[in-house]
Assembly symmetry: C2
Homo-oligomer: 286 residues x 2
């Protein structure tokens, strides 16, 4: 599928933004990719590595000629940047993002768009705990689902173009209501991240010297605790209600298992473990 944009600007050239640029180039994009960000050294490096063609630390400058503007910064920073550049966005341009929360982003950013500029929220289900431009890869989005979350006022041609773009990059677009998105990912992604951070902290509280004894199980379980703290702080803030609800359910599951162990009710404990194993198999067979 042909990529129908000429000038693409990526705001935030880290793991997600850098991988987006690499994927564009890998899929034959012949236009210009401009990177924008606060860290000039990072942008120089991205250009030197051939990931972006040009860069600027002025967000307003970066969007004037762009047909597509992709936000790949922590979700907490999107609104401020949009407010500072909205008047500079070219008529006919499309603005999109890769943030892990969608309801607040779609509700806040859509209405900030000037006339003839469409915002389309997106969340590619891809990532690594490793962050920054050094971790970017051309195949991060290959075969990954990309959740696209149109609002009622989302411009239809813009939506179609964003869907087409992700297809061109090898991802699998899935349409979803932004509120439903946050409910689901609050449980299957945001909760696990908070649990991973809590697990590490609790092991350190037992004894700070013992974590090194952990095997593959602990490594796998806590790998996402290596994710950038500021990114996950923002995600927790933007999906606070859903996250609190799922954390309550999680705490009650933990309490239930704790109670069974306290009462030495091993038959009931095994039953709970079996229930979890069977549910987890639904994920494995994907």
């Amino acid at each position: 599928m042909k990529i129908t944009f000429n000038n693409i600007t990526i705001i935030g050239v880290g793991l997600m933004g850098g991988s987006f640029a690499l994927a564009l180039k890998a899929k034959g994009f012949k236009g210009k990719i401009t990177g924008a960000g606060r860290n000039r050294k990072n942008l120089i490096k991205a250009k030197r590595l051939g990931i972006i063609d040009d860069y600027t630390t002025e967000y307003a400058d970066s969007v004037r000629d762009a047909d597509l503007v992709l936000f790949a910064v922590p979700v907490g920073r999107v609104e401020t940047i949009v407010k500072s550049i909205r008047k500079d966005i070219k008529k006919g341009a499309i603005v999109t993002d890769v943030g892990s929360v969608k309801a607040q982003i779609v509700r806040k950013i859509g209405p900030l768009m000037p006339d003839k500029v469409g915002f389309v929220g997106a969340h590619p289900i891809a990532g690594r705990e490793c962050s920054g431009i050094d971790c970017a890869t051309a195949d991060l989005y290959q075969n990954a689902r990309c959740i696209i979350t149109p609002a009622t006022d989302t411009n239809k041609p813009a939506l179609k173009k964003v869907i087409g773009l992700w297809k061109s990059l090898g991802a699998k677009p899935v349409l979803m209501d932004p509120v439903e998105h946050d409910l689901i990912f609050g449980a299957v992604s945001h909760l696990p991240h908070v649990v991973a951070y809590a697990l590490v902290n609790s092991i350190m509280k037992v004894d700070s010297g013992i974590i090194r004894h952990g095997g593959r199980g602990l490594r796998d379980m806590t790998r996402i605790a290596l994710s950038p703290p500021e990114l996950w702080r923002d995600i927790c803030a933007y999906n606070r209600q859903n996250l609190l609800r799922t954390m309550k359910k999680f705490s009650s599951s933990v309490s239930h298992l704790t109670g069974l162990i306290e009462r030495s009710d091993w038959a009931a404990l095994e039953k709970e473990f079996r229930k979890a194993k069977e549910a987890r198999q639904l994920l494995e067979s994907d």
Copy 2:
């Protein structure tokens, strides 16, 4: 290093026992490996695959000629089997195990040994969520640490032989007090397993249809929930006190993060995430 046993009996020919047999053969063991278990079909398969040389469903028969008896059944079954076969163990033989809990095993099994039979507890830090003979591999223990937990009454030559055996199989023996072992692995292994089961169950409580939306983070975090429920039930029972203590610490870490999110204290939340990330890096650099 030469393997100084002639007849080795493995009680429980699944992932751990089968991998032990495969490793022996891969490292040039020329003696006889006998598999013992309750499931004849499984034993026939293990023999057909060349993993074991002979088999029996009679535990007493399996140990009469053995120089080494390895227990690779769920920890809850070891004591019963030992009681039923102790009089049949050959003088001079060594009995060992691969169980994930050690204090109770060492305390209960050591004194059951007849004269001139030494028991040495061991716990190789290797495993897969996949269980059974089909998952056994010759390299499961390669470069894995193997915790060896002598008690004060452990026969020294037997201890030395078990250390040498694990070295021969490519593992790295580490000596540890059995009580200390259970304290450490209660936190870095048993707690994470219970948390993984609880995480899956809580996601199912939010909505049973959403787990399939999980990405790599959730897969990694819940992979150990695929482990055999009966095995982990026994581990929880045998390490109940330590596990309860670490679960309390974990619950308090979760409550602390929940409180920060409730109060929208994002700076403190980021600090907690950063603390966890830095601690997790201790594990990654191993």
